[in-house]
């Protein structure tokens, strides 16, 4: 049964490739269908932007209504959104901040997005994204999920890391959760807390939920009456003040440094360390642009397919470096015109020597013969 299925699958694949020169007829007709109505698609989840709402100076919440093809999500999951920015499809990953029940009820979901300085997607979203725009979505994914059983949940969030946690809290409240929940929320200043009002209301209304807003910089006008007020980077006192009992699950989402510190401190603090849940997907990589062309710094390059690692400085192209390593990547002109050397960069940033431009941080195709690394890079080579 199984093998005959597979066989008919490969036969239909062959027929499709013969008739349409694509693996499936959908690829062939997609452009056509999309031309009739941008919300139509034979293969992708599409979504319309229904609302754009400012949260803080540099964050906003998008409300999206996805098409039927969307299979739903669990609280805490993230998804990829592809925007068409001046003809270029750019894809980024965002955590969902709304609840699954809201999706079932009114077919809407929300993501909260922080504008990353020098980024090429998030600032565009903030400045140009208009209500009515159609975007592409991936299905939801991620393991940052509410545990089936728990006694005390500890959430530690940094900056926009609050988004998946918000989805958790809203769902937990919807389901009338009686267990203890502690939230330690770190942000630079008081005006940088996203969902500040909603979180304060939650903390007031539900006895079992404690929320601590911690300013890491310049907590000037401290509210003396508020005993819960903490400040500075995460430390033992914060945990001591916030935790009356040991949590059995600890969720951390925020910048890398916070994740490392928080995990260590919590482990030391608790008699019995909780289960940790970390949300891993990336925060922006910063590149030192100032010392540019004179920078001879070498970066580690991981070649995933051949399972090798090499160092490549910024005057050696990735093609040359791979060849020195003994590999024989496909290539032709070695001058950026024939595209024979194209290869998927899975992570990291490269500079294109012809245009001088830096690539994005996401996975994308690059030309090895004219690319030099600008950060650590992973290649599908």
């Amino acid at each position: 049964m199984d093998s005959s299925n597979r066989q008919s699958g490969s036969v239909s694949k062959w027929v499709n490739s013969a008739l349409f020169n694509t693996e499936s007829a959908r690829d062939y007709f997609e452009a056509f269908v999309e031309g009739i109505d941008p919300m139509w698609s034979l293969k992708h989840v599409k979504a319309r932007i229904e609302k754009v709402q400012k949260e803080t100076a540099d964050t906003l919440t998008l409300t999206l209504s996805p098409t039927q093809r969307f299979q739903g999500f669990k609280a805490g999951q993230h998804l990829q959104i592809s925007f068409d920015i001046n003809g270029v499809t750019k894809t980024r990953t965002f955590s969902i901040s709304s609840t699954p029940s809201e999706l079932t009820r009114c077919n809407q979901l929300q993501v909260t997005i922080k504008a990353i300085e020098n980024g090429d997607v998030t600032p565009w979203i903030h400045q140009h994204l208009a209500v009515g725009t159609v975007v592409k979505l991936s299905q939801a994914q991620g393991e940052f999920l509410i545990p089936e059983q728990f006694k005390h949940l500890l959430y530690i969030a940094g900056g926009s890391g609050i988004t998946p946690i918000m989805s958790h809290l809203r769902s937990l409240i919807n389901n009338g959760c009686p267990q203890a929940i502690t939230v330690l929320y770190y942000a630079k200043t008081s005006s940088d807390f996203i969902f500040h009002n909603e979180l304060s209301v939650i903390a007031k209304r539900f006895k079992n939920i404690n929320v601590y807003f911690v300013e890491t910089q310049g907590a000037k006008h401290r509210d003396k009456s508020n005993q819960k007020r903490l400040e500075g980077h995460i430390n033992e006192q914060h945990l001591g003040r916030a935790l009356e009992t040991d949590p059995d699950h600890c969720f951390i989402c925020g910048p890398h440094a916070l994740k490392v510190d928080a995990e260590k401190l919590v482990t030391e603090f608790c008699k019995e360390p909780p289960r940790f849940h970390l949300e891993h997907f990336g925060l922006p990589i910063t590149i030192n642009e100032s010392s540019d062309s004179h920078n001879q710094q070498a970066f580690p390059v991981v070649l995933n397919r051949s399972q090798q690692q090499m160092d490549c400085d910024q005057s050696t192209t990735l093609l040359e470096a791979a060849e020195k390593q003994g590999l024989k990547p496909n290539h032709g002109c070695r001058m950026g015109i024939c595209y024979t050397c194209k290869c998927k960069k899975q992570s990291g940033v490269v500079r294109n020597l012809v245009t001088g431009k830096l690539s994005s941080t996401e996975a994308e195709d690059i030309q090895l013969c004219v690319s030099v690394p600008a950060t650590a890079v992973e290649l599908d080579l």
Binding site: L19, D84, N86, V88, C333, M335
Partner: protein
């Protein structure tokens, strides 16, 4: 111009070449910075138009009961194949739209409606032909080793049929292009063996089988008793595309004034000289908008060779700028009407079908 007078190359000093190269870079840069929405919309529209022509062509052929319906259907299908090969396939495979980040409109994944396998095409065309353009002995597209186009190629009585070879190649162009990587001439000289060619032959067979299945098995079979009507319509459409594509391409490099280069000239070539060679080795032709679109903008062969990875519909706006720079450096910008350029191709083939002496006498 009277007889075959091929102008001597206008030499530029290394300094001039460098400056010339910089000017070309600047023209390129300007367009690169402007790429966006407009280009994405353009190619997506062309894809939609192509789908329309293909569907209506196949439907018309299928249901036609009169020769008129059949002819219109074949014409429509022929147009769709031309559009797909020239304006979509050729250009997408050059990576002209890779910046869009669209997995379908991408040089790495695109496969075109042609018996030539896209991977093989990228090797022989994008790399060999575009890198070594018009270098005798290295650019195998120069005459496709089936025609004699200059005295650099030794004369032999078989070349008396130069024009007949051209006609044959035109009619079966997609097969010529598809089998190009077989390098028959190298097999004959013993430089390569058939064994070297097994991987290529496998891919070529796979791809051409699929194409044959589509046009001569699947769609004809759908018509049941009218099998032959559909097969004939599809054959006509393929032939139409072959003749058209080959004519466009011959006009690109085989015109009277198109220059050739030797390997020595191009050793350790600078970027400036590369541009210079691309310019002098290519020729444009003029015409209305439809002619440009249907030629995949290879009517701007010069611009295409200077900027092979820039979306082709941009060549029209780049052309006056390139022309101006050429004037500044006293370089020939080879252009003329389609008929005139095609005429000079025929003339060139006729000239070189004769032994060198006679050619000289003619000159």
């Amino acid at each position: 111009m009277t007889a075959a007078t091929f102008p001597i190359k206008h030499k530029l000093s290394p300094k001039q070449l460098e400056a010339f190269g910089k000017e070309m870079d600047a023209i390129r840069e300007e367009v690169v910075n402007d790429l966006g929405e407009r280009d994405a919309r353009y190619i997506k529209n062309i894809i939609r138009i192509h789908r329309g022509f293909e569907a209506s062509g196949r439907i018309l052929i299928h249901f036609s009961i009169t020769p008129i319906g059949w002819s219109l259907g074949s014409l429509s299908l022929g147009i769709s194949k031309i559009l797909e090969n020239m304006e979509i396939g050729h250009n997408v495979l050059h990576g002209q739209y890779d910046w869009m980040n669209d997995p379908y409109i991408n040089s790495q994944t695109y496969e075109w409606d042609n018996v030539c396998d896209a991977e093989s095409w990228k090797r022989t065309h994008n790399f060999e032909h575009h890198t070594f353009t018009n270098i005798i002995g290295k650019d195998r597209d120069y005459g496709y080793t089936a025609m004699r186009l200059s005295d650099d190629e030794p004369w032999h009585p078989i070349w008396r049929l130069n024009l007949a070879y051209m006609a044959a190649l035109s009619f079966f162009f997609q097969w010529g292009v598809g089998a190009h990587e077989l390098e028959v001439e190298k097999l004959r000289s013993g430089e390569k063996t058939l064994k070297d060619k097994i991987p290529f032959l496998k891919d070529f067979t796979k791809k051409s089988t699929r194409q044959l299945f589509k046009d001569y098995v699947f769609f004809p079979a759908l018509a049941g008793p009218f099998f032959w009507k559909v097969a004939a319509g599809n054959f006509a459409a393929n032939a139409m595309r072959n003749l058209w594509a080959s004519s466009i391409i011959f006009c690109g490099h085989f015109t009277e004034d198109a220059q050739t280069f030797t390997e020595e000239e191009c050793e350790n070539e600078s970027k400036g000289h590369w541009y210079y060679r691309q310019l002098l080795g290519s020729s444009n032709f003029e015409g209305g908008r439809w002619l440009h679109v249907m030629s995949g903008h290879l009517s701007y062969q010069i611009e295409h060779h200077l900027f092979p990875d820039i979306p082709a519909h941009r060549y029209a706006e780049m052309s006056p700028k390139v022309k101006a720079v050429c004037e500044k450096y006293g370089l020939n910008y080879n252009t003329g009407s389609f008929a005139k350029q095609y005429g000079t191709v025929l003339k060139r083939l006729w000239t070189y079908s004769k032994p060198p002496k006679q050619a000289e006498l003619l000159a």
